[in-house]
Amino acid sequence: SQTIHQWPATLVQPVGSPLSLECTVEGTSNPNLYWYRQAAGRGLQLLFYSVGIGQISSEVPQNLSASRPQDRQFILSSKKLLLSDSGFYLCAWDTYYQPQHFGDGTRLSIL
């Protein structure tokens, strides 16, 4: 069966510091990978998606970037965090034949 791992679960960072959130998927090959941000009352906002290694599409221009160095690894980064980057970040995967599944998320607080 497929599993998705996301870490860390919670992160507190100062404004202006860098960020790296990692997501890995097991049990499937060549998945589509996604990063979402979920804000209270605002639903899920798609940030980035990737259909293959090195292929990243950005949905929202912002202070964040994503990379996919390996088939089942997806990384969300920032060089300098802003207060507005606080939120709940979710990684997800799917394939053509399997619907989207989510990780347990990272709660990011910027101080």
């Binding site: 009352g41 605002r42 639903g43 979710l90 997800a92 989207q100 989510f102 998320g105």
Partner: protein
Amino acid sequence: QKEVEQDPGPLSVPEGAIVSLNCTYSNSAFQYFMWYRQYSRKGPELLMYTYSSGNKEDGRFTAQVDKSSKYISLFIRDSQPSDSATYLCAMTVNRDDKIIFGKGTRLHILP
């Protein structure tokens, strides 16, 4: 008009009652419909995945799609306190298209 509309709740019902959660949508091209359950501080968990119109049952859960009315429902029978969570509807035109999520309905099952 928003693509997907979902009442945010909260919806409070007594244990054992039948729960009805609903979403309306505007894009008649949507063909694939999903329901996710999200517990506090966790990622969304896929509950139901359906294609086109009709009903699908899985244990105490029934998903219903009425494409003519652009209306989908999730019914929970014999509701339990453990069903207390936020329920998100989601839909897409094709399997490899962007998924559109509702903002979620908060459900409380009162013991």
